[in-house]
Symmetry: C2
Subunit: 326 residues, 2 copies
């Protein structure tokens, strides 16, 4: 039984909790929060809710601490810090800063004799694996990643920060013609605008200037300016009724060849997820198995999904895997 | 540079040769054949063609020997035998006999201090990986494997053995309604007949009894009796013109859930391959990297794709992988 702790109880923390409870070989011991623990209700009656200030007191009762904070400010601090006391895993997803985060976590975990995995989830995570497997098997080719149709929480938050906006939901949508061109093996060069569109559902304050809000969204640099964006104003009731979930998904498509380009091969890995945080939490819980096992074997420092043999994330033995999954 | 030997120069051996030559870090040293070497023309001017009787003389000049024989009779003998002298890899694909083959190869490789990987390819191989990853991440769910549309060489051979048949090509075709049902997340129970149909293109001898041939195909146990099979008689010219390639592919679809079944998640891994042997050869060549690396690290015995971290099949460093593929 692997004893799990969760730090941070937002959407992802709740997704991890569900995943841990679905795994017969894992047990949730405690959830740590920055809030008043009395105000946090969790799903697991046997687990404690504790303030983060008590976390190091629990270091001998937890095999793997799962960090469920945000990548912008929480994880760059938390993962290296808690790797001093725990085996840790996070889903750090700022791709450009992964090398720096890796180095910080690696130094901290190695010094403490702990094991860490960073950037576990689906992108980075399962999508990354599929990019690497495909490139390794077929060196001649290109990978394409499409996201959606699904809710981007970062883009939804960006809209909410605009004056006059009560709430918002943003869907990232792959362009069907781009998907088709890639799947055909034609290896197209695609701009940002050609790959995805952005669909926004916005609840405005009564009397707000909707034309201004729409303009501010569509011209927002980085988030929307490079995309074809549609803005739909809806009521709060409609948002709650039709846009309550956090579905997501997407495809990694690899378009490769052999025989000097004469034979084409298309590899597609596609996710269609009812709940982004629950699937991400499930990936993290599976890789928490590998963290524990590698630490038991004396392997310390920081790793990523690329360094983990698939059998290490399975609760099954090598014999069972060979007999039933190979 | 990893020095590669190939034993067996049929479709798969030629596919492996193309893959090795596409990999900048691998060099084909020799092809071993049971035929007269003078009768075998290979694509690689710098490699030798030698009779298999000379194979052990080459043991110090080859880092990894790739076994390209058949699973029915060649590999059960060859892989354990040559693991006494070489690091080896094969694509043994008789699923039910994998545990036995694994044990034989493991004993032989361990005794000799060699490293072996068995059953590398796409099924077993990349499909197996996707079944295991999905089950590990989402313990509640079912996996479905569909093959095709593609040429089954085993079924084509079975037709060729019927009296009056000159040549034949058999395509395995997934049933669209079954694929749709699985992708919808409805977790259907599907019989063999509901999942795939079999399409046969047969060249008959002049004057042969076509009705008898068709009946013999459709009633052949194991191969065709459990499927809806269509038989088309065509000319040899038509066969050569329209059915010369060996395309294949298929999908592993995992239909899983979280939140006690309330949230559904579909994971699909799909291959669309112009050449089955060239893609299989490419997977084997990538895993030959891992064989060499693991042997260099002192890891001996038999392994499968399940035991190999993705980074081990890549020519890139950990830093490069984290910076560009994660």
């Amino acid at each position: 039984m692997t004893r799990i702790g969760i730090l941070g109880y937002g959407n992802l923390g709740r997704g991890v909790e569900k995943a841990v409870n679905a795994n017969a070989d894992q047990e949730l011991v405690a959830v740590f929060t920055r809030r008043d623990p009395a105000s946090v209700k969790i799903d697991t009656p046997t687990a404690k809710v504790l303030n983060v200030s008590e976390i190091t007191n629990m270091k001998d009762e937890i095999d793997v601490l799962i960090l469920c904070g945000g990548s912008a400010t929480d994880l760059p601090e938390q993962t290296p810090e808690y790797a001093k006391y725990f085996n840790v895993i996070d889903s750090f997803d700022t791709h450009a800063r992964i090398p720096e985060h890796f180095a910080n976590v690696d130094a901290s975990a190695k010094a403490a004799g702990k094991t860490a995995i960073i950037s576990a989830g689906w992108d980075p995570g399962m999508f990354s694996l599929n990019r690497l497997y495909a490139h390794s098997v077929l060196p001649n080719g290109n990978d394409y990643t499409f996201w959606g149709r699904g809710v981007s929480q970062g883009h939804s938050d960006a809209i909410r920060r605009i004056e006059g906006v009560v709430d918002a939901r943003q869907y990232t949508v792959p362009v069907p013609a781009a998907l088709e061109a890639v799947r055909s093996g034609s290896n197209p060069e695609l701009t940002t605008r050609q790959k995805h569109t952005r669909e926004c559902y916005v609840v405005a304050e009564e009397g707000a200037d909707k034309a201004r809000i729409e303009k501010e969204i569509k011209e927002m640099p980085n988030y929307f300016a490079d995309y074809d964006t549609t803005v739909n104003f809806i009521s709060l009731d409609e948002l709650k009724k039709n846009h309550a979930g956090l579905p997501h998904g997407g495809s990694v498509i690899y378009s490769g060849s052999t025989d000097n380009g004469n034979k084409k091969h298309i590899i597609e890995y596609k996710l269609t997820l009812d709940s982004n945080p629950e699937f991400t939490g499930s990936v993290i819980a599976a890789y928490a198995r590998a963290v524990k096992r590698l630490n038991d074997e004396g392997k310390t420092g920081c790793l990523t999904v690329m360094d983990i043999a698939p059998s290490y994330i399975s609760p099954l033995s090598g014999e069972e895997i060979r007999a039933h999954y190979l």
